[in-house]
């Protein structure tokens, strides 16, 4: 279909891709996997001729007889959307908010085929139905903001395949989606390839997704393809060390010994949390939406408790209530016997026993403060800075593997992984008994994630910490928690020891979740189990 030959790309002088050669076979699924920053998206954009401002490409991208890189812009326009379609990672912003979904899909047809608007809309209706958005439930005059993330990604797919292109490029199509929606989208893509003879270039950072989808896989590191081959042979052989390291990290199990005591630390008793929705008209009463509906559970000292659920199930609302950021509308939450109620005037003694680590390493720190002041902020709770503040900060940083000299530097000088380590140091500074980890590793690359999980396991043993581990990623939760709770639309639908829940789920929703999570086939990893 398209054969890349020594494709190299530099943007503003920095070399992003160097001598990438890849043959995308027609009618087949080619996987391109690598960590963020490895250049996989740039490869796709180069093929589409959509490289950003100020970049230069060399080498060839043979399509039938012509070299795509050499084609003039007019010919590229005729090619894009017609013979090569592309979808992107962020469905929420990929559609023009001011145009209906019908118009946007029909536009691809009208741009290339000079068809009348009526014909184009008819074809659009069929393609939308084909991608799972039948016109009766999703009329063509709907606007993007009225659809969920998954549904919008389906519209993007409909747009990309409206003219039955020979190649569909999917750049991290499901990374921003929930695991169940991801499974459906991947099935849809596989169906399109099978039924319409389309070839698919699937770009992702998730080895499990690639293992389940691709016929041929290429592994990229820092702008180079380090290894490529048929999927099963590649997983079995893993000739290149980087591939092995990548594989080991994604299935990493931190060594931890459960050391949960039986004394209760955090008790959530029939917690209820409502949101006021927009009021109808100036005088209309604001509507109520129940996000957390009577949740109860107990977290024991030293225990790792997981809370799993898809976005919108209410787990972050529950977390904010536990942290005392939002008031409860019913029930109560007690930490070590003392009740938590929202607002800054919550007694400092309770707050000192609980700390939090957030998801986004880049949003968790005030860019204008030095690391020392960032880590020492929780001292605000122990009314006044302790005399030995600097060396307590140094000890905390050392504890998380950051050299104490970092104290006087600013946060923008650190990588994502280092920032999460500093966030953990901040959480440790007041020797809390419970740390709430709200999607703490979701934003990290798989190898960095493995290191952080090891760190958390070590700290738990050293300080006897209890963890409340909140995540949408089942495989991570499975590897780090003693007990797990599955949450759906505001309620805990299942609870129990992690291994039993994962091995034999009782609730249907849990079953669906586990089935939807892509995993690398066990027998492929026979020879070199980490």
């Amino acid at each position: 279909m398209i054969r890349l030959e020594n494709l190299s790309v530099t943007i503003h002088g920095a070399e992003i891709l160097s001598a990438v050669s890849l043959d995308i076979a027609p009618g087949k699924v080619t996987g391109l996997v690598g960590e963020s920053g490895s250049g996989k998206s740039i490869t796709a954009l180069a093929m589409m001729g959509l490289l950003p401002h100020g970049s230069t490409a060399s080498g060839h991208a043979w399509l039938d007889e012509g070299d795509v890189l050499a084609k003039p812009e007019r010919e590229m326009c005729a090619l894009r959307g017609n013979r090569v379609g592309m979808i992107f990672q962020e469905p929420m912003t990929a559609l023009n908010p001011l145009k209906t979904i019908g118009d946007q899909v029909a536009e691809t047809l009208m741009i290339h085929r000079r068809t009348t608007r009526r014909e184009a809309m008819e074809i659009a209706r069929q393609r939308l139905a084909r991608v799972g958005l039948p016109a009766d439930r999703f009329p063509l005059n709907r606007y993007p903001h009225e659809l969920s993330g998954g549904q919008r990604q389906r519209v993007c797919i409909a747009m990309a395949v409206a003219l039955n292109p020979e190649l569909l490029i999917a750049d991290e199509p499901t990374t921003a989606l929930d695991v169940t929606t991801q499974a459906q989208i991947l099935d849809l893509l596989q169906g399109l390839v099978a039924e319409e003879g389309m070839s698919l270039l699937l770009i992702t950072h998730d080895l499990a997704v690639v293992s389940g989808m691709a016929d041929h896989v290429a592994v990229m590191q820092a702008g180079r393809i380090v290894e490529q081959g048929p999927t099963e042979t590649l997983f079995r052989t893993m000739a290149h060390p980087y591939t092995r390291k990548l594989f080991a990290a994604s299935s990493h199990q931190p060594a931890r010994m459960p050391q949960a005591e039986d004394t209760a630390l955090l008790c959530v008793d029939r917690a209820v949390r409502d949101y006021a929705t927009a009021r109808i008209g100036l005088f209309g009463k604001p509507g109520r939406f129940r996000a957390v509906n009577g949740v109860s559970f107990t977290l024991h000292r030293g225990e790792s408790l997981g809370l799993v659920g898809e976005s919108g199930c209410g787990k972050s609302t529950l977390t904010r209530a536990i942290l005392g950021l939002d008031p409860l509308q019913g029930g109560a939450i007690r930490l070590g016997g003392q009740e938590i109620h929202a607002g800054p005037h919550l007694d400092a003694s309770i707050r000192r026993r609980m700390q939090v680590v957030f998801q986004d390493p880049y949003g968790s720190f005030n860019p204008r403060w030095r690391v020392e002041r960032l880590v020492a902020e929780p001292f605000h709770l122990s009314d006044g800075r302790p005399a030995d503040m600097r060396d307590r900060v140094a000890r905390a940083l050392d504890d998380v593997g950051i050299e104490p000299g970092a104290m006087d530097r600013y946060i923008h000088e650190f990588s994502g992984g280092q920032r999460q380590r500093i966030a953990i140091a901040r959480a440790l500074i007041t020797n809390p008994e419970l740390i709430v980890l709200d999607e703490a590793v979701s934003a990290l690359d798989v190898r960095v994630r493995a290191q952080i999980l090891d760190l958390l396991a070590r700290l738990q043993e050293a300080h006897g910490l209890a963890y409340l581990f909140i995540s949408h990623d089942l495989s991570v939760v499975r590897s780090v928690t003693d007990r797990v709770m599955v949450m759906k639309s505001g309620e805990i639908v299942e609870e129990g020891p992690t291994e039993t829940v994962f091995a034999a789920p009782s609730h249907d929703y849990t079953k669906a979740l586990i089935a939807a999570t892509p995993t690398i086939p066990a027998d492929w990893q026979g020879e070199q189990h980490a």
Binding site: L323, L325, R351, F358, F365, N366, E377
Partner: protein
């Protein structure tokens, strides 16, 4: 123009006027308060580098002292805007959706609804024309601008994790506003400040053009323009020079504002690249 170039040209131009204003405290080629009718309407010469006006006063000295008036009025007016507007904006953002937020926002819309020049004229009619009243009149209309800019940018910061972390660390809304929010919007306020400063210069010129700004004998560019207007056919320089001074200063400030925004706002720098 690279952002740097805009910044330096702008800063250079503004500095020229700032220096002229500061210098005028100590020395001006001629005393602006002394009139000698005999030397009226002289063309440019050695003794009078830019000529003299209809009272025989040296135009260069008038422009220097005029710069002092304009800068003082515009600076204090921006001060009022920041002093009142920023805290209001921070409070409104801290208590989003509360009554205070609604009152601040409605108050802003109301002040914006008033035609600024008409209100300025009213204020000077009530309290009598003077530089102080011009400052008041211009200052009032700076408050909603700063309140709106502060509230807007503060709102987006309140959603960030480090503010949540601070709340988890038990800090109150006021303390968070001062320690976390304010430092991170100062860049924006500096840029907005330069723009409001240049608008202040224009507003002071307009007010003194209709005779409501600084009163004689303190010179002001706007009034020089008004007095020179009738002689524009016989001595055009009289009217053109103060106009050029206003344009140059405001241009300088705006270029500096643009340069600062590009320099301080990483997002713009990335978009440019």
């Amino acid at each position: 123009m690279r952002p740097g170039a805009q910044l330096w040209i702008g800063a250079g131009l503004s500095a020229v006027f700032l220096l002229a204003a500061l210098l005028s405290f100590a020395w001006t080629p001629h005393d602006v308060t002394a009139l000698n009718i005999a030397d009226k309407l002289k063309p440019m010469s050695a003794t009078y580098p830019l000529g003299t006006d209809h009272f025989g006063r040296d135009i260069l000295s008038m422009l220097m002292v005029g710069a002092r008036t304009s800068i003082a009025v515009a600076l204090v007016a921006v001060g009022i805007g920041v002093g009142l507007g920023v805290p209001l904006g921070l409070l409104a953002a801290a208590n989003r959706g509360s009554l205070l937020d609604e009152v601040v926002m409605r108050g802003n819309d109301l002040i914006f609804a008033f035609p600024s020049l008409v209100i300025a004229i009213l204020i000077t009619a009530v309290f009598g024309p003077s530089a102080l009243n011009a400052i008041l009149a211009i200052g009032i209309f700076n408050v909603p601008v700063f309140a709106r800019v502060t509230r807007g940018s503060a709102l987006s910061l309140w959603t960030l994790d480090y503010v949540l972390a601070a709340r988890v660390a038990g800090k109150g809304r006021l303390r968070i506003s001062v320690e976390h929010i304010l430092p991170n919007i100062t860049n924006l306020l500096i840029v907005q400040g330069t723009i409001q400063f240049s608008l202040g210069i224009l507003a002071e010129a307009a007010l003194s053009y209709v005779g409501l700004g600084a009163q004689p004998p303190t010179p002001s560019w706007g009034r020089m323009l008004a007095e020179a207007q009738t002689m524009i056919y016989t001595n055009p320089a009289l009217a053109i020079l103060p106009g050029l001074a206003i344009v140059a200063m405001v241009l300088g400030l705006n270029l500096m504002g643009d340069g600062l925004r590009d320099l301080l706002d990483p997002r713009v720098r990335r978009a440019r690249g």
